[in-house]
């Protein structure tokens, strides 16, 4: 007990909650499958995702092409695995420069940063700051999400970066609301009063005293949001507002494949399965975690 608990031990402790829930473990396995498929895409696939093979169009699953090929003879497994990269692993800022972490993840992370700040501000200070912030966010939340995406993408053009911006704008009001309600609750605790009697500045109060204690519900909400973001990226791709072709993007794959759906259903099925399984996986993970954390209280 005299030694300092190592960081590793702390991580293991917080992970132990995860193993308690079967639902969360299943969710985690699904999510990890896609993460590994995307990260290791060059290793686990044998074909270039954009290589067209006129000899092998519209094929079903076989030993050659595990998941079959699309209407241009491209290997579906390669396309699905590389398609996961944009969502989960790389955010291509220009054609040859990308930063790690997918579009969905970055979108939610930036939305978290903005949403938390706004939520903390209005929850902690209250009064007119709260009124102004919340009314603006209410106005934004009044738009149907998909319409908001369409407006944003139509206004600033389709690119990976703009998808990130769209996810951020659409996601932050919801996060701000959540953080605000958590802040309102935490603000009444004695340790907040104790910090106030030390005359701590507002930034310290919000980010050091309050935010760490709101992390549980925020993390769970963020996981669900990554799921929704993936869904939205798929939708944008399907509407032709996603990433420019010929990049393998799940949404655009469904879009391109659905014209040949009667001759080759595989071109639609696999990207759809990819999107829905990843979203379901994230939801299971979040639900399992939520149940376990609630049980601990």
């Amino acid at each position: 007990m005299t030694t300092r608990p190592s960081r590793w031990k702390k991580i293991r402790e917080s992970l132990s909650i995860l193993w308690q829930s079967k639902v969360a473990v299943i969710g985690l396995i699904i999510v990890l499958f896609w993460v590994f498929a995307a990260v290791l895409a060059p290793i686990v696939t044998t074909y270039d995702p954009n290589a067209e093979d006129a000899q092998a169009r519209n094929q079903g699953p076989s030993a050659e092409h595990w998941l079959g090929t699309d209407h241009k003879g491209r290997d579906l497994w390669s396309r699905v695995a590389y398609g996961g990269q944009i969502v989960l692993v790389k955010w291509p800022i220009t054609n040859d420069f990308w930063i790690p972490g997918g579009v969905a993840i970055w979108g939610v992370l930036i939305a978290l940063a903005i949403g938390c700040t706004l939520g903390l501000l209005s929850g902690y200070y209250g009064g007119w700051i709260d009124e102004v912030v919340m009314r603006i966010l209410d106005a934004m939340m009044a738009f149907p999400t998909i319409l908001l995406y369409l407006i944003i993408i139509a206004a600033i053009g389709a690119s990976a970066t703009n998808v990130v911006i769209a996810i951020m704008i659409a996601g932050s009001p919801g996060i701000a609301r959540l953080v605000r309600s958590l802040t309102l609750d935490i603000r009444t605790r004695d340790y907040i009063a104790a910090a106030e009697t030390r005359g701590e500045p507002g930034l310290w109060m919000m980010f050091v005293e309050i935010l760490p204690n709101a992390r549980g519900p925020i993390i769970i909400d963020a996981m669900l949001r990554v799921g929704y973001a993936i869904f939205s990226i798929g939708t944008l791709g399907f509407l032709g507002l996603g990433l420019p072709p010929p990049n393998p993007d799940w949404g655009s794959m469904v879009q391109a494949g659905h014209q040949h759906i009667f001759t080759n259903p595989w071109g639609v099925i696999w990207p759809t399965v990819a999107i829905s399984s990843l979203v379901v996986g994230l939801n299971l993970l979040a639900d399992g975690l939520r149940e376990e954390t609630l049980r601990y209280q």
């Binding site: 030390r198 005359g199 204690n213």
Partner: protein
Amino acid sequence: MSVDFEWTTDTDDHRIKTPILKVENLAISYATRTGDVPAVRDVSFDIQRGEAHSIVGESGCGKSTVAFGIVNFLGRNGRIVSGRILFQGQDLVGRPQEELRHIRGDRIAMVYQDPMQALNPSMRLGDQMTEVLTVHRGMEKKDAEDLCIQMLKRVYMPDPANVMRRYPHQISGGQQQRVVIAMALLNDPALLIMDEPTTALDVTVEAAVLDLIAELQKEFDTAIMYISHNLGVVARVSTRVGVMYAGEIVERATVADVYLKPYHPYTHGLMRCVPRLGMDKRSSYLYPIPGRVPSPRNLPPGCIFEPRCHYARDECRLKKQELREVEPDHWARCHLAEEIAQQGWTPPEDLIADLPPVPPAPDETAEPILKVEHAKTYYEAPSKKLIGGKKQYVKAVDDVSIELKKGETLGIVGESGCGKSTLVKTIIGIEKPTGGEFEFIGMDISMPVSRRDLAIIRELQMVFQNPDSTLNPSFTVGTQIGRPLRRFKTVPPNQIRAEVMRLLDMMKLGERYYDRLPRQLSGGEKQRVGIARAIAGRPELVLCDEPVSSLDVSVQAAVLNLLMEIQQKLGTTMIFIAHDLSVVRFFCDHIAVMYLGRIAEIGPAEAIYAPPYHPYTEALLSAVPIPDPGVEQKHVRLSGSVPSALNPPAGCRFHTRCPRKIGEICETEVPPWQDVGDGHRIFCHIPLEELRQMETVVTFKDNA
């Protein structure tokens, strides 16, 4: 086992009637992820008709589990492992749910701690009450209503017909508890189980509810099982007492025997760690029980109290003791009971060494360091009209003046909602004052903390009530104690760790606590860390808002001793809020009695507890439950509850409830401050001569 067998036959011999409830060798376990937790083991007791049997013990000792076991409310993971529960001769253990529910609803009634949770907030009280009769007894609605009104009258509910039409939130907490008790009595139960029924209530309300319980017990001839952690309350209501410790009954006898002639060292310990009304810190000590209650997962092999017992010998460590009869009808679970009872008690060496030295008496001639004059803190209440409407104010603190000299301790007492906490929060700057002058070490502090100078902020710190929320759950103990050191630059940055260690040591916590998170600490430990954090910056004045109210008595004694030690070492001045009048008397030099935002009486501690009294102080003192069945207490009860601070009564604010109201003058004119001398002032119209003639409220008969 043989001992218990003898006991059964023995009791049957000298009482012919069968007990209403007889619990034999009851053991209850809860299933958890890490295995079964034996929460209650080998509990035996019986309750006769018309008897009130109390179970007393600190939190987590299994009192409520026993009660839940009897009514079979153990939840999904709890189960009765062994033993019998005989209710009117029938064994309840192992019966099908349906049958149990029938017996429970008709013959066993239960009253819980929080009346608001026992009543359905969306149903009228009348409907909830009549439902009991129409469902269980198939009574006609009209007859049921009449019976309910009668029952409400019997529990002294004012205007019962009107109360029947109200919703639970429209009546006060004390009245809610009356309704719950009335509801419990509707079916004329043979056994009434009360689980801390007055813990959530104010002293004055508590006293009235306890009176009611005592009266009902006589009138209805019901058997009552009364669960409480408060030794004083138990002394007032019960005929027999069982003391529970870590899941076992360690002593069982009549009230007088347990309180005046205890045999078990744990009972001794409990008695020694609560201050009696009238004790003070300069003339007496509190002796906390060392160590902490063992976890039921990890019990000592011998006597369960052995690790904390001063008398422990080898046999205690090795052999488990059964509950045995040490005297006719006096049972104790101790090998050395007779010896201990005869010996008399001298505090052992190591305990004496731990006792705090007596804090120096404050210098009477010194200039006050805190001067509050005509302090007012109002909260704006939302107007009921949609547009316009006059602004209304909740006058939480209204014209309060106090002075505090260096090294002095000022106690503030009063019922909840009287403005104690608001006053303290205004002084420290978390609430904004509406008016008045606040001066601290010669500087003006009538502004919120955000606009104060860091030099003033560090001199004023606070200790909070709730141990569970006083520490930030995300940071380690070391970080949290270190923060004020960093912020106020009390010590250079490279010495912070050493200083935190020193503080932990002073709190008797030890260095291993440095890296612990709040959830790994017990309530008392959290409170110590809270105190360490408050004194880390070496403040001049520490404001304590009920720092010991939610702690168990043995822990409370240790925390009080700690505060005294701090006071002695650092010469800290303190304001100490509490609702326990014995604790305030023990700890404070001066006391202010507050009522509805005003001070009713202020003066030196000993003067407050002796006549002349303010009529409110008199009522408070007469309501204090005292853990001594021999004590004589004058019977003064207040009617109703504290009026709303939104619209306080004119004239003297206490006139609506005052048993000594002298006439119209009380309703119309603000009373004068009457100076009794020595700083003792009473805010009342009654002439001082008359107040002086009051009798002492609490008289101790010297029977020890």
